[in-house]
């Protein structure tokens, strides 16, 4: 079966004065129709570089992307705007401050020359209605809206071209808890209605677990663990994932090695040899400095890149 979105061996580089950063260092992911892949990791791990490359905002250095089996044209900016859209963390920075709510939502329709004026107006009203923006706010400017309302406008804009895939980059991180719930509910409902696929990026593991079918954990440009969301939540195997889980109120996590991180992300300009996580990993052994661990299936499509994983995955794998 062809996947809605397929990413193979994607590499994204950023050039800086000090050298080249491999923000995304060879990543393969796939998302089915109507499903959500949650992507977690610390800032600087390359989540956003990956997201931006997928929607065509970053240059793809190597690798291929395809939508429904059709290879994507990654050289032309916005070539796939009809199929793939993005929701940003900070709707204030992503909305033109001088356009009204209506104009903002109409803009993508105008750019793509869809419908005449009356049809567009009708569509804008329907979109704003769907995301829960009342008529009284239609002529407002972004700064006259609350954070939650702005994010709703951002969502309406992303939906305007009826895309199949939406990349959500930290869509609720800037919002208050009670407003987060409103936006998350809207997102999962829209997904059900329109069979959307989400690439959902967040550092908030509880949020990611709630929305995702699959969770991928990223560290310094590489995927270190990927699997079904509930598996990752209950049976995280990579030391890094376990460290992330320990920062949440996860009470369902199965027993395994305790991992506490005492240092910060190493310089991405010169990532450690072998396993990139080894400099912060309390469980690192000699081998970790030499060989780079590859993603290895631990059963039920749960893949982990760690040399020592079999030492603590054994019992649980047999049980599963």
């Amino acid at each position: 079966m062809t996947k809605r979105l397929e990413i193979s061996d994607l590499v994204v580089q950023h050039k800086s004065r000090k050298g080249i950063v491999h923000a995304v260092a060879g990543i393969s992911l796939e998302i089915d129709a109507g499903e959500t892949l949650g992507l977690v990791g610390e800032s600087g791990c390359g989540k956003s570089s990956l997201a931006r490359a997928v929607v065509g905002l970053n240059k793809v250095t190597a690798g291929t992307l395809s939508i429904n089996g059709e290879p994507m044209n990654t050289s032309r900016h916005g070539a796939h705007a009809r199929e793939i859209q993005m929701i940003f963390q900070d709707p204030y920075g992503s909305l033109n401050p001088r356009l009204t709510v209506r104009e903002l939502v109409e803009e993508p329709l105008k750019v793509h020359r869809l419908g005449n004026k009356a049809e567009r107006a009708e569509r804008v009203t329907a979109l704003l209605d769907r995301v829960g923006i009342p008529d009284t706010l239609h002529q407002r400017l972004p700064h006259q809206l609350s954070g939650g309302q702005r994010q709703r406008v951002g969502i309406a804009r992303a939906l305007a071209l009826e895309p199949e895939i939406i990349v959500c980059d930290e869509p609720v991180s800037a919002l208050d808890v009670s407003v987060q719930a409103q936006v998350l509910n809207l997102l999962v409902q829209l997904q059900r209605e329109q069979n959307l696929s989400y690439l959902f990026i967040s550092h908030d593991l509880e949020v990611v677990r709630y929305v995702s079918n699959w969770i991928a954990v990223m560290y310094l440009g590489k995927i270190v663990e990927i699997g079904p969301a509930e598996q990752i939540w209950k049976r995280p195997l990579h030391p890094y994932t376990r460290a992330l889980m320990q920062t949440t109120d996860n009470k369902e996590m199965e027993a395994g090695p305790e991992v506490k991180l005492n240092s910060e992300l190493p310089n991405p300009l010169s990532p450690p040899s072998g396993c990139r996580f080894r400099t912060r990993c309390p469980l690192a052994i000699e081998r970790c400095a030499k060989d780079e661990p590859l993603l290895d299936d631990q059963g039920s499509r749960h893949q982990v890149a760690c040399h020592r994983v079999t030492e603590w995955s054994g019992d649980t794998a047999r049980a599963a």
Binding site: E42, A181, H203, R209, Y210, T247, D249
Partner: protein, 301 residues
Amino acid sequence: MSFSVGVGETLALVGESGAGKSLTAMALMRLHKTQFMDVVADRIDLQGRDIARMNDREIRQIRGSKIAMIFQDPLTALNPVLTVERQLVESILLHNDLSRAGARQRALELLDMVRIPAAKSRLGEYSHRLSGGMRQRVMIAMALAGNPQLILADEPTTALDVTISAQILDLLRELQTNLGVGMLFITHDLHAVRTVAQRVAVMYSGRIVETGDVDTVFTAPRHPYTEGLLAARPHGSFVDGGHRLREIPGTVPTPSDRPAGCAFAPRCGHKTTECEETLPPLELWGKAGFACFHPLEGVPA
């Protein structure tokens, strides 16, 4: 509002943006904009001295020495053109009777205390050269420079990554046990509250609506707002269970259009006309209590 923080105790002040959390801390330090705002307090008591009655000169002596503050964004709170050493030594000299060499020694001790690796080499750095976590550690070191009795921590981990934030929370908890300082911890992060605080006060639109020890308030909230806030956090999986998250409809009212009665009434499912007309007082039993006419039964959430 009224609250107290004991020696070596952490009180968390939780609420959404616009609840007035930061303003409370600013008012305690008398750092609010006096030309626009008035702070009326019966008493602000610090170890038997009433800050509310102090003049500007007296409060300046308290600020930084008796009460210290940690801000959300260390990049704007630290001076970008001074080295870590200059800033630390400056605040140490201001609050302690030490020679310059002694102050330098103390600066190193403080950096060690906040677990900055290779502290000596960090002394000459400027704040923009440090990572977010390191900056926050430097700010904590500066806050400790005056040997405070009370630390006001205003969202100290909000701008940080989860892994770094966990380290900072650990550090704060440890410093507090070792040094016996009281801490007022301001945050909107419920997980952080569970990690560092013993007691919690939930704020809504300028008032405390519920307070008590963290375990009780979080497992059996009495005020509908507290309960709604806890229920709004994602728990479980939508994909697996298909449940919707509980929303709190609407938004926090601005101070200018706060309703006459309970400020939460327009968003509350339990409201009656009584709630809309009269303001429920914060009823306290010991150090716990809530401000609501129709409290929940206190069943575990």
